[in-house]
Amino acid sequence: MLAHCTDDRKTPECSTKSMDPVEYTLRKRLPRKLPKRRNDVYINMKTDFKAQLARCQKLLDGGAGHKEICIHGLGLAINRAINIALQLQAFSQGALQLAANTSTVELVDDLEPEDPDEAGEPLTRTRNNSAIHIKVFYPNA
């Protein structure tokens, strides 16, 4: 059973950004943890594409298959989410339908001063990123 796919690119990583006079360490904060139903799939760039596709397929198939699943993608994972949704639709030979919604997600970065003695304050910077939410469902006959 695969672990929950979390949003990508938001694990805290240390990368120095040398644009301020005081050197800062950039730490990307994870986006807010969103409530997740059983048929919610969050796509990231780390997990194998085939594995994510198989997971979505399994959610739709089977005896306990859901009537619809919702695929979410943030930033670079938008492309992958769209690909997965279109592949699912192609495999179903037209039985599935897609509904796509877009949104903007606010992301917060923490900037910490490199040197603890430096006079820099830990800053936070917010930026926006695009997200897509694709509903894949069997239309009611």
Binding site: P12, A100, P122, S130
Partner: protein, 229 residues
Amino acid sequence: MSGMSFSSREPSTCSTSVPKTHHSVTTMDGSLNTCSAKPAPAGFRRVSSTGEPSSCPVPGLGPGVLEMRVKEGSKIRNLLGFAMSRLQGGGHVSPVSQVMFTGTGRAITKTITCAEIMKRHIRGLHQVSKLQYRTVREVWQSREDESIQMTVVKKVPAIYIFLSKEPLDPLELGYQSPAEMSSSSEENTSGAATESSRKRHCSPCSYETVQLSKIKRSTQEHTATAYNY
């Protein structure tokens, strides 16, 4: 579903011909096989790239629709400057009330960003988003020998984001109403029961921002906060 092969990369579903014969044409068969061929054949340069014009999937269009084709290298500032001026009415031309952003492949993210920024500047825009595959036909020519050509036909994902000042059909797949939404809220055309659980407000997010910038924190605290997610 037999004969499917996947690579871990994006399935742009291309198939290229290996032998460098004169004017060889490679076409896709019906199945969506993804190949692991490198995107640019060595020693070739792309001569022409013609997209098969796919029918506009959004029904109920008005007569004048501004179509904005977003490419990978497009500058968002230029795109939005033009679209805004057209939507709000330039000096010499009558204002358009509907605009459609289209993008394929790597430009999809930029397309979505353009549409989102436009929705933020101009309130009350109805949105319909559509996804589909689009076939693109590229002709590659060898650098050394000009006569050797290769035609590649591939399917790339495409997105069509239709923004309109006039109300659109709410039952349309991919419809989003122009209500005030900030972060990660979802409109469901069916299944309204889940809608309340999915609406999120931005206020906690901005509250966190204000709080953190005031207090001087240690590194451990930051790590702990981040890992709590």
